[in-house]
Amino acid sequence: MAKFDENARPFSEKWLDERLGVVTLKKVLSTEYWIPKDINFLWAMGMVLAATFGLLLISGIFLLMYYKPDAALAFDSVNYTIMTEVGYGWLWRHIHGVGASIVFLIIYIHMFTGIYYGSYKKGREMIWISGMLLFVVFSAEAFSGYMLPWGQMSYWAGMVITNLFSGGSLEAYGLVEWIRGDYVPGDAFLTRFFMLHVLLLPLVIIGLIVLHFGTLRLPHVNNQKGEEIDFEEAAELYKAGKKKESKVIPFNPVFLSKDVFVMGVYFILFFYLVFFHFNFAMDPVNFDPADGLKTPPHIYPEWYFLWSYEILRPFNKDLGLIAFGIAQIALFFLPFIDRSPNVAPAHKRGLFNLWFWVLLADMIVLTILGKLPPEGIYNDLGLVAAIVFLLLGPALFVITKMEKKI
């Protein structure tokens, strides 16, 4: 039995520390959690993501109070009840809709930052893998949420995406029906995606966020030069008051102050979109109620799925599915494909720099083509861009194998 100070006032710091270890906890998680000093605003994207997730969670809770998961009622509960009758219901919905789209922009920026600075290597593999897991579950969360307003795009995107599970020539329609709970998307389909969206997937996301934070603690955050820092030594310097000489800063309050500033600027953009420019995130097509007898002329996923959608499209159905499958999991293996011994920003890594910008350009080209109607020159461009993406994997292996130690 540990010792407890009989005279400690209840809920005083000492009292809490004896029971919960709050002093240690505060040090470990905040005031003595050391971050390199040599960073730029891209290092704030993690906190920006956490804040956006918070907004999605809060707005989602408010929407959940009025949303009706029923194929006959869902559309009107969103578009009439929430948008018209509930005080500020429109605000919560716009925050939720814009947040769901913008969160992926930040995720992509966060991912490309990690790739550029080599932040997935040498002890940081689990950061990358847990991050990729988050990306996948966020994608599932976004897709399931997109079903809920039960508009035309909800219905038809649901139809197209669940059809993928028939496995091309395998014709596993039994599996598709099992996923849908029906022959076509209907009430059973809507209610199970509702469950996934508001319960199971958010639980998994929260768990993964904790894991993702946890993976940072031992290898520490990377820095702009990819420099290996002796964090204990640097921390001693900082604590001794030699702040200029030390290469690290504490998370709280020094790093946090920069995070909060970046978040402020980000929220200006975010709320500008919420109030004045939301159509990109709330597709007009989805304001038509779901109609199984009326296929929209163009069915396309939200912008953040377009690049992988475009890897599926230009091939025949079996090859397309295989390519699509590879694209979904390829990025997980990045830390193991990259054989280079260097942790450094791309511009210091020769051919890898070229590889990075080709990857970025190719994913943007795929994204844009993914939304264009599959006709004429767009088909050819799509095929080239998809093949380039698939070749980038082996190319990375060769390039990094040849890379010399800096």
Binding site: V254, S257, I364
Partner: protein, 311 residues
Amino acid sequence: MKELKVLAVVVFFSLLVYWGVEPFAHGQMHKHVDGDNFAYSDLPEITKKGDAVNGGNLVMGAGACLGCHSIKSQGMPAPMDAGTAAASYGVNPPDLSNIGALYDEKFLAALIKNPAHALNVEHKFDPAAGKMHPMVAFYGAGGDIDQEVADMVAYFKSIAPKELSAKEAFDNACGRCHAMRYDKYTQLGDTPEFKYEKDALAYQIKVLEYQDHLKAYMGKLPPDLSMIIRARSAHFLETFVENPQTQLPGTSMPRVGLSKEGYEKVEAYLTEIGDPSKPQREALGPWVLGFFVIFSILAFLWKKYQWRDLH
């Protein structure tokens, strides 16, 4: 500064993606239709100066308008109720009290002389094939037909109210085919409150019967327009209403002939019902943005303070 360079790169690629998946992709997906700004340039100008008194006589007499239409503001009731009219004609013919305030006068003149042509539904109604438009064309009362038509249009303009509400505009131009369930409005008009459920159900049956006739007439039930203002772009709606064939070739929706002002009223009603938060959004937006501007300035000062002796 290095951070600004990094920011410029991030902003550039984000905007490139935005441009590609929004303006560019949508430009490729939807054909561009140039509007005519409700000028109806394909229809002939009215060359004669109309005489409203003579027009009134024609409307009541030789024009035989009242055989099917009502002019409630002048005390002329409809010859039959909406349901019976729909059973006879497919759709309830409109009341003529305020058409002079809503529709283009060239369009009205062309409509009186040749309904199927003015309404742009000649692909559906072909007299040679025995498919007559339910509205009978006016063949003249013995005099100069163009003068007589001009007189009738002058009459409708003379009896039209000066002010027309947005909902009245919708009611006359769209409401006999399109419902607006978020305003408890059906093709029979505003749904009344009933004390007894059986009366409510009886009314619902009348609506369904009307809709069945309409379905047979149009090929399908025209869509409810509650959310149309958010489901289509402003440009699409404007050009579609002006001439449905440009955006949806072969559609059975007629050109309704709204004047520019008439269309603006209809659009105002669609916005009021389909996007009621618009005024609130525009009022609240600047305050929220202002808050985050101040927030960012304070956060910047705090950051400066925290980082003051680090370099």
